[in-house]
C-alpha cells in the first residue's frame, strides 16, 4: 500500500515536472518536410519539396532565410519559391514550396544532395532557428549504358512509342458528322444554284415527251397538260388576261407571246366555247409550242 502511494506521488511529480518543462513553450509546434521519390531523376527534371511549419503567435518567418531563386550550385537551380501563410487557432502555418531543377548528367547512377538550410523566425527581436535537413536522391544517366560504336558513331535509342488510345468510336462519329456536313453543303449549293453542271429540272420536258404520245382524240388532256406546265412555271394558275404580268416575270417567254395567246384562245374555244371539233393542225401546234417553251427553258432560244 505504501508502495502504491509512492508510485502515485511519483507519477504526479513527473506530470508536474513535465508540465513545467520547456516543450509547452516550443515556438515551433509542427515541422514537416515532404519530399518526392528519391530516385529516377534525369537531367532537366524538376524536384518539388514542401516544408510545412507551424509556429506560435508572435513568431514571424524571416523570408531572407529561405534559399534565393537561381543557381544553388553548378548543377542545381532553384526555379520557384512559394510561401503560403495561413493563420490558425494556435498560431501561423507556413507552407513553403520549393521547385528545383536538376542539370546534372551523370554517366552512371549517382547519389546527389539537395542542400539543407536554416529557417529563421523572429519574436520580439529574438531569433529562433529551424534546420531543414539536406535531402539525398539518385540521378540516372540519360544516355544508354551500352554504347554501340559501329562505324565510329553512337546513337540514342528512342523510347518505345506509346500505344494509341482506341478512338474508333470517335472516328465513326467524325465520319458521320463529316457526311452530314457534306450533305448540307451539297443541299445549300443546290439551293443557291451553284451545281450548274447537274441536269436541271425542266418544267416542259415531261409534257413535251408525253404530248408526243397523244393524238387529237385526247385533245383535252393535251391542253390540260400544257396548262399544268404553264401553271407550274407561273407558280399559280395562269390565265389569258394575266399574260402581261406573266411576261414581266418571265421575260424570256415574251418572244413566244403570239403562241401563248393562240394557245389560250384555242383552250378557251375548246373548254369554254361552243366549238368542240379539233383541228389536226392545232394538235401539232401545241406540240411545237411546248417544244418552243422547252427551248426557252433550256436557254436555246
Amino acid at each position: 500500500m505504501q508502495l502504491v502511494k509512492i508510485l502515485i506521488k511519483s507519477f504526479f511529480i513527473v506530470l508536474l515536472l513535465n508540465a513545467c518543462s520547456s516543450s509547452f513553450h516550443q515556438p515551433i509546434t509542427f515541422f514537416q518536410v515532404q519530399s518526392p521519390r528519391p530516385f529516377g531523376y534525369v537531367i532537366g527534371d524538376e524536384i518539388k519539396r514542401r516544408i510545412i511549419v507551424e509556429v506560435r503567435d508572435g513568431l514571424a518567418l524571416q523570408y531572407r532565410s529561405l534559399p534565393g531563386k537561381g543557381e544553388i550550385n553548378r548543377w542545381l537551380n532553384l526555379k520557384k519559391v512559394a510561401v503560403n501563410k495561413i493563420k490558425t487557432s494556435r498560431g501561423t502555418r507556413y507552407q513553403i514550396d520549393l521547385t528545383y531543377q536538376l542539370f546534372y548528367a551523370p554517366l552512371e547512377v549517382k547519389m546527389l544532395e539537395l542542400p539543407g538550410f536554416t529557417l529563421q523566425f523572429r519574436q520580439f527581436g529574438k531569433m529562433t532557428d529551424k534546420q531543414v535537413p539536406p535531402w539525398y536522391f539518385t540521378a540516372a544517366p540519360l544516355r544508354e549504358l551500352a554504347i554501340r560504336k559501329q562505324d565510329g558513331k553512337e546513337y540514342m535509342r528512342p523510347d518505345t512509342p506509346a500505344p494509341f488510345l482506341d478512338n474508333t468510336a470517335n472516328q465513326i462519329r467524325f465520319a458521320m458528322f463529316l457526311c452530314i456536313a457534306m450533305l448540307a453543303a451539297i443541299y445549300l449549293a443546290w439551293v443557291y444554284g451553284l451545281l450548274s453542271f447537274l441536269p436541271k429540272y425542266q418544267v416542259f420536258k415531261r409534257p413535251c415527251r408525253q404530248l408526243g404520245k397523244l393524238s387529237e382524240r385526247e385533245f383535252a388532256s393535251m391542253l390540260n397538260m400544257m396548262h399544268g406546265a404553264l401553271n407550274q412555271l407561273n407558280g399559280k394558275p395562269l390565265f389569258q388576261h394575266r399574260l402581261t404580268d406573266f411576261f414581266q416575270r418571265f421575260p424570256d417567254y415574251q418572244q413566244l407571246e403570239n403562241e401563248f395567246r393562240w394557245f389560250f384562245e384555242c383552250s378557251n374555244r375548246y373548254f369554254f366555247g361552243s366549238a368542240k371539233q379539233v383541228d389536226k393542225a392545232d394538235v401539232e401546234r401545241i406540240k411545237i409550242f411546248c417544244q418552243h417553251c422547252l427551248q426557252v427553258e433550256r436557254g436555246q432560244r
Partner: protein
C-alpha cells in the same frame, strides 16, 4: 351575237366612255356599275367623303333617263317617309302625297338611297322588298316598279349613329363597289384645277340624257343572259370558286396569322352566285363574246362576292385586310382548267 345585242353593246360602251369623262379615275368602278345596269342588279357604293359616289350615280341616272328619285338616310327616317308625306295645303287642308318611291310610279328607273347606313332597320326591311320584288304595298294596293334599280351608298369613315346593314339586305345587292380616291396624279390635278369638275350640276347636265333606254333594259338583260353560254368546264370552275369561298382551306388557301378552318362563318349564297354569273355574262357581252370565260368570272368576283362572305367574329375586326386577301387568293389558287 345578233345585231341588236351588238348595237346595244356599242351604246353601252359609249355610255361608259361618257361616264368616264364625267367621273375621272374610276374606270373599274364605272365598268362595274355599267355591268350592274345591264345585269339588272342593285349596287351598294362604299367610299370616303367627296370621292364622287353621288356624282357617279347621278351621271348614270342621267344617262339612263327615266325617273330618278333620291332620299337621304337619316336616323329618324321611317319606312312611311319613302311611301308618302303629309302636309297642309294652301287652304289649310291636310294632304297626302306620294313619297319618293311612289311619285314616279312604274317609270321609276333609278332610286338612289344616300347614306343608307344612317337609316333604321325598318327602312332597310322596306328596301329589301323593293329590291327583291320590285314592288311595295301601300294604300291597300301593290305598286310595281319593273324598271327600278337601287343604288345606295355608305360612308366608310363615320360609324357613329349608323345601323350596319343586315346580311340579308347586303345579299340583295348584286355588287358592293368600293370607290377610292384616284391615285393617278394627272387625274388628281385635273379634278383639282379643271373648273369643269367644280360645278357638279353642270357636269351631270353634260351627260347625254336617255342614252340608254331604261324601259328596254329588262328585255335586253334577258337576251344577254340567254345569249351568253357557259360550258361545263366553266361551271366546274365556278363551283370550285363557290366552295372555296366557304372552305378555303380545302383548296390550299392560307392567310397569314389565320386559322383557316375557323375563318369563314358563312360563304356566298346561291343568290350571290347567280348574281355572279349574271354579272359575268354581261362582262362577256361587253367584251363581244358569246361564251363565258374564267376572266369574266374573275372580273366581277370581288364586287359580287366580297360582301357575301362573312368572317367569324374573332376575325371580323380584320375583315378589311382579310377579305381582299382571301378573294385574291381564291382567284389565284384555283385553276380553270
Amino acid at each position: 351575237m345578233n345585231n341588236q345585242l351588238s348595237d346595244w353593246r356599242e351604246q353601252a360602251l359609249q355610255f361608259e366612255q361618257q361616264i368616264n369623262r364625267t367621273v375621272l379615275g374610276q374606270q373599274q368602278a364605272i365598268r362595274n356599275c355599267i355591268i350592274s345596269v345591264f345585269a339588272r342588279g342593285h349596287v351598294l357604293l362604299e367610299g370616303g367623303v367627296g370621292v364622287g359616289k353621288t356624282t357617279l350615280l347621278r351621271a348614270i341616272a342621267q344617262g339612263l333617263g327615266g325617273a330618278y328619285q333620291r332620299i337621304e338616310g337619316t336616323i329618324d327616317l321611317m319606312p312611311a317617309d319613302l311611301i308618302y308625306y303629309t302636309y297642309l295645303d294652301n287652304k289649310g287642308k291636310p294632304q297626302v302625297d306620294p313619297g319618293p318611291l311612289l311619285k314616279q310610279g312604274e317609270n321609276l328607273a333609278t332610286f338612289f338611297f344616300n347614306e343608307i347606313n344612317r337609316a333604321r332597320p325598318q327602312v332597310h326591311s322596306l328596301l329589301l322588298r323593293v329590291m327583291a320584288e320590285r314592288s311595295v304595298s301601300a294604300f291597300n294596293q301593290v305598286y310595281q316598279f319593273p324598271h327600278i334599280q337601287v343604288f345606295a351608298d355608305r360612308n366608310r369613315i363615320e360609324k357613329e349613329e349608323t345601323f350596319e346593314l343586315p346580311a340579308a339586305a347586303r345579299d340583295r345587292f348584286m355588287m358592293e363597289i368600293n370607290i377610292d380616291m384616284p391615285d393617278d396624279d394627272v387625274h388628281l390635278t385635273e379634278l383639282a384645277f379643271n373648273s369643269r369638275f367644280h360645278d357638279v350640276d353642270k357636269l351631270i347636265g353634260a351627260v347625254e340624257p336617255g342614252k340608254i333606254a331604261y324601259f328596254e333594259l329588262n328585255e335586253l338583260a334577258m337576251q344577254i343572259q340567254q345569249t351568253i353560254q357557259s360550258s361545263s368546264a366553266l361551271k366546274k370552275y365556278v363551283l370550285d370558286l363557290w366552295k372555296a369561298s366557304k372552305h378555303p382551306e380545302k383548296y390550299g388557301i392560307r392567310l397569314s396569322d389565320t386559322e383557316m378552318e375557323q375563318l369563314i362563318q358563312s360563304g356566298a349564297s346561291p343568290r350571290g352566285v347567280s348574281y355572279l354569273i349574271r354579272a359575268a355574262k354581261v362582262n362577256a357581252w361587253m367584251a363581244n363574246r358569246t361564251s363565258l370565260l374564267p376572266e369574266d368570272i374573275q372580273a366581277v368576283f370581288p364586287v359580287t362576292m366580297g360582301h357575301r362572305i362573312f368572317l367569324s367574329p374573332v376575325y371580323s375586326y380584320r375583315k378589311e385586310q382579310l377579305l381582299p386577301e382571301l378573294i385574291t387568293n381564291i382567284l389565284e389558287r384555283i385553276a380553270a382548267p
